[in-house]
C-alpha cells in the first residue's frame, strides 16, 4: 500500500529525513519509534504534504500512485489520514459541520452523492460513543476548548468517519491518561482490517501494550536503523535508544 524508497526531506532549509525506506502492506500495523528529534513527526507531515516539508529525493508510492505529486487534500481524499499530535482549534465551526464537509469531500472524490444529513448525524453519534465522547462535542467548535485527551479522541472519531486506507497516528498516546489511552487503543484496534494499514508514531512503548503492531521500526537521524517485531519495542523500553544508535554507528 505504501512504499517509501530512499526518501530525503527538508523542513525549511534543514534536511531531516536522510534516505528513509519503509514498506507497509494492507492489513498491517507498523510502529515507528525513536528518540526525540529523530524525524518521526516529520515523516507524517511529509507524507501528508504539509507546506514547508519538502521531499528532495526518493519516492513514495501510495496504492500505485505517486504520493509526492498530489496536493494535501488529494492525498486525504485518496485515503491518507494523519491524526495530529496537536490538533488546532477552529472557533465557531461546529465539529458536525466540519466532519460532514470532510466526509462529503471524500465522497465527492469517489463519485458519491453528499451524505444525507440525518444519516450522518446518526453515524457521527455512534462514533462519538465509540470513542467515549459526549455527543454535545458535535455541536462545539472544532477542538474549541477541548482538553488534550478530548482532542485526541476527536481525531480518532474523524478517522473512523473518514474510513481511510492508511492511518498515520502521530504521538496519539501523548497526554493521555491510562483510561483515555485504552479507549483510543480500542478504537484503533476496531479500525484494523484487511484493507487498511496503520502506522503508529510513538515515543513510548506503552501504547503498544494495547495496540499490538506487526512491525516495529526505530527511526534515528532521519533513517530507519532497525526493524523487528514487537519484542524490539520491549527491548527499547528496557534499554532505551542509546544502545541501538551506538550499535548502528
Amino acid at each position: 500500500m505504501l512504499s517509501i524508497k530512499d526518501l530525503r526531506a527538508n523542513v525549511g532549509d534543514k534536511e531531516i529525513l536522510k534516505g528513509l525506506s519503509l514498506e507497509v502492506k494492507a492489513g498491517e500495523v507498523h510502529a515507528i519509534m525513536g528518540p526525540n528529534g529523530s524525524g518521526k513527526s516529520t515523516l507524517g507531515h511529509v507524507l501528508a504534504g504539509r507546506e514547508n516539508y519538502e521531499a528532495t529525493a526518493g519516492s513514495v508510492d501510495f496504492d500505485g500512485k505517486n504520493l509526492l505529486d498530489m496536493d494535501i487534500e488529494e492525498r486525504s481524499r485518496e485515503g491518507l489520514f494523519l491524526a495530529f499530535q496537536y490538533p488546532v482549534e477552529i472557533p465557531g465551526v461546529s465539529n458536525m459541520e466540519f466532519l460532514k464537509t470532510a466526509v462529503d469531500a471524500v465522497r465527492e472524490h469517489r463519485g458519491m452523492e453528499p451524505i444525507d444529513s440525518v444519516q450522518f448525524m446518526k453515524l457521527a453519534r455512534e462514533k462519538c460513543k465509540a470513542v467515549n465522547l459526549d455527543d454535545q462535542f458535535l455541536k462545539r467548535g472544532v477542538n474549541e476548548g477541548f482538553s488534550g485527551g478530548e482532542k485526541k479522541r476527536n481525531e480518532l472519531m474523524q478517522m473512523m468517519l473518514l474510513e481511510p486506507k492508511l492511518c498515520i497516528m502521530d504521538e496519539t498516546d501523548s497526554g493521555l491518561d491510562i483510561d483515555a489511552l485504552q479507549v483510543v487503543a480500542e478504537g484503533v484496534n476496531a479500525m484494523r482490517s484487511e484493507d487498511r494499514a496503520i502506522v503508529l508514531v510513538t515515543h513510548y512503548q506503552r501504547l503498544l501494550d494495547y495496540i499490538k503492531p506487526d512491525f516495529v521500526h526505530v527511526l534515528s537521524g532521519g533513517k530507519i536503523i532497525k526493524s523487528g517485531d514487537r519484542s524490539l519495542a520491549l527491548e527499547l523500553e528496557e534499554k532505551g535508544y542509546g544502545w541501538i544508535t551506538k550499535e548502528v554507528a
Binding site: 494535501i72 487534500e73 486525504s76 494523519l82 490538533p87 465557531g92
Partner: protein, 482 residues
C-alpha cells in the same frame, strides 16, 4: 504556488461577481450636473407638493456650505459631483404601471436573474419586496395582504402623496437634513426608496425587504428609507443591493431612518453586495451611507449587516437610545478583499435610563484591502444605569491587508458601564492544514473558517439571508488564498 494553482485561482476570480450584468432598457437619464433646477426637475418628475420641494432645496443650500468628511481611514479620488447624473429611470416606468402585468418584462427578468422573482406566487413565502431600479421603485409586492394588517409598505415617492402627515412628521427627524455631507446631498436629491409604517400593537405578518439595483452608468443612487414602528409593534426588514461591473466608480449615498416608538421593535438586516471593483482595484461603488434609528421608551432597534461589496464603504448604522430601558444592537460582518476599503461601525448614544447596547463587529481583511471598525459609545449625563458591551474581532487572511479598530467611548454618567473587547487573529496555516488533511480544498477551508468566525452575527440574520450571506462570503473570498 504552482502554475496549476495560480490558474485555478485566476479562473475563480474571473467570475466572482455574479450580479455584475447590465440590463438594456431605455432610460430617461438627466445630463450630469447638480443645481437647483435639477432638484426642481426631480421633484417635478415625482409631482411632489411644494413643501417637499422646499425641504429639498433647504437641504441643497446646506450641502453647498459643507465639505466632504476626510476623517475616515479610506483613500479615494474625490468625487466630482457635477459629473454625476442625479436621476435615471427606465422609460417604461414613466406611465406608472399599476400592476406587475404592466411592468416591463425586461425589468422583471433583471430581478429574477438576481434571485428575486417579483411575482408573488413565485416568491419566498413571507417576504414582501420593494424593488428599486436606479432612481425609481419598480414594484412592491404583497401590498394588499399587508394592508389587511394595517401595514403600509410602499415607495417613499408614493408616501409623500398618500401619507404626507407621516412623512412630514418623521422625514429628517432622525437624520437631520444637514447631519453630514452625504446626508445633506441625499436629502436634496433622493429619488426613491421604501416607506414603512407599522400601526400600534401590530406584529408585521411578513418580512419586508427592499432590493436596490444600480443599472445606468454615471448615475448616483440616492435612496431614502423611512421606517416607523408605532407603539408596541414589530417589524423585520431586509435590504439587499447589487450593481453592474464597471471600470468607473459610482456613488451610492443613502439615508435610512428608523423610528421605534414606545415598546416597538425594529430588526433591520442588510446584505450589501455592491460591485466591489476588480482585483486591481478598478471601479466599484462608493457606499457612503447614513443609517440611524431612534428608540423611545422600552423600544429596541437591531442592526445586522453583512458588508461584502463596494470599493469604499463609509457607514455607521447607529441607535439613539432616547427612551428609558431601550435597547440598541449592532451585529456586523465586514469583509474586504483585493483593494476594497471599509470604514464601518456604529454609534450607540445612550440618553435614557437603563438603556442597553450590544456591538458585535467582525472584520475580515484579505488581499491588499483595509478594514476599519469605528464605533462610538456615548453615555449621557442622564443615562443612569446604562450598559454597553462591545466585541470587536478582526481576522486577517494573508499579510498584505490591514485591520484597524477605532473605538470612542464617552461617559458622562458614573453609573454607566462600558465594556470593550477586541481581538485580532489570522487564519493560520495550521488551521488550513488541518482542513486540507481532512480533504477540503484551500478555498473551502478558508470559507469554512471565516464562516465560523462570523457565526455570532449570522445567527442574527433571518434564515434565508443567513444562507445567502454564507455563500456570499465564499464568493467574495475567492482568490484570497495562495
Amino acid at each position: 504556488m504552482s502554475q496549476g494553482e495560480q490558474a485555478q485561482i485566476d479562473n475563480l476570480l474571473k467570475n466572482d461577481y455574479e450580479a455584475g450584468f447590465y440590463t438594456s432598457v431605455e432610460s430617461d437619464t438627466l445630463p450630469p450636473g447638480l443645481d437647483e433646477d435639477v432638484i426642481r426637475f426631480i421633484s417635478g418628475k415625482k409631482g411632489e407638493p411644494e413643501w417637499m420641494l422646499d425641504w429639498r432645496l433647504e437641504a441643497y443650500r446646506g450641502w453647498q456650505e459643507m465639505t466632504e468628511p476626510e476623517w475616515a481611514h479610506v483613500r479615494y479620488p474625490k468625487v466630482d459631483f457635477q459629473a454625476l447624473s442625479y436621476f435615471s429611470a427606465p422609460k417604461s416606468m414613466a406611465d406608472k404601471p399599476k400592476s406587475l402585468d404592466e411592468v416591463d418584462p425586461e425589468l422583471l427578468r433583471t430581478y429574477e436573474k438576481l434571485g428575486i422573482p417579483l411575482h408573488e406566487q413565485e416568491m419566498l413565502a413571507g417576504v414582501a419586496v420593494d424593488a428599486v431600479f436606479d432612481s425609481v421603485s419598480v414594484a412592491t409586492t404583497f401590498r394588499s395582504k399587508l394592508k389587511e394588517a394595517g401595514v403600509i409598505f410602499c415607495s417613499i415617492s408614493e408616501a409623500v402623496h398618500e401619507y404626507p402627515e407621516l412623512v412630514k412628521k418623521y422625514l429628517g427627524s432622525v437624520v437631520p437634513r444637514k447631519d453630514n455631507f452625504y446626508a445633506a446631498l441625499n436629502s436634496a436629491v433622493f429619488s426613491d426608496g421604501s416607506f414603512v409604517y407599522i400601526p400600534k400593537g401590530v406584529r408585521c405578518p411578513m418580512e419586508l425587504s427592499t432590493y436596490f439595483r444600480i443599472n445606468e452608468a454615471k448615475t448616483g443612487q440616492f435612496e431614502r428609507t423611512l421606517i416607523i414602528a408605532d407603539e408596541g409593534s414589530y417589524v423585520s426588514y431586509l435590504e439587499g443591493c447589487t450593481a453592474p461591473m464597471r471600470d468607473e466608480n459610482q456613488l451610492h449615498a443613502a439615508v435610512v431612518e428608523l423610528v421605534a416608538l414606545g415598546d416597538a421593535q425594529i430588526k433591520y438586516s442588510t446584505v450589501q453586495n455592491w460591485y466591489p471593483g476588480d482585483k486591481e482595484g478598478k471601479g466599484g461603488i462608493y457606499n457612503f451611507v447614513t443609517k440611524r434609528g431612534v428608540c423611545h421608551d422600552n423600544a429596541k432597534i437591531s442592526w445586522t449587516q453583512v458588508e461584502t461589496g463596494s470599493a469604499v464603504t463609509w457607514k455607521y448604522p447607529s441607535v439613539v437610545l432616547r427612551g428609558d430601558n431601550s435597547v440598541g444592537e449592532f451585529y456586523s460582518v465586514a469583509l474586504t478583499n483585493n483593494f476594497q476599503q471599509a470604514d464601518t461601525g456604529t454609534k450607540m448614544i445612550h440618553m435614557g435610563k437603563n438603556t442597553r447596547s450590544t456591538i458585535i463587529s467582525k472584520g475580515i481583511s484579505a488581499g491588499q484591502s483595509q478594514n476599519a471598525y469605528r464605533g462610538l459609545v456615548r453615555m449621557s449625563q442622564r443615562a443612569e444605569g446604562a450598559r454597553n458591551y462591545t466585541q470587536c474581532d478582526s481576522l486577517l487572511i494573508g499579510d498584505r491587508c490591514g485591520a484597524h479598530t477605532f473605538p470612542y467611548i464617552e461617559s458622562r454618567n458614573p453609573s454607566a458601564v462600558v465594556e470593550h473587547e477586541a481581538t485580532t487573529s489570522k487564519v493560520s496555516d495550521d488551521q488550513l492544514y488541518l482542513c486540507q488533511q481532512r480533504g477540503l480544498d484551500a478555498e473551502k477551508a478558508v470559507s469554512l473558517i471565516v464562516n465560523g468566525f462570523c457565526k455570532e452575527v449570522f445567527k442574527e440574520l433571518p434564515m434565508e439571508f443567513a444562507v445567502e450571506a454564507g455563500k456570499l462570503l465564499e464568493v467574495s473570498l475567492e482568490g484570497s488564498v495562495g
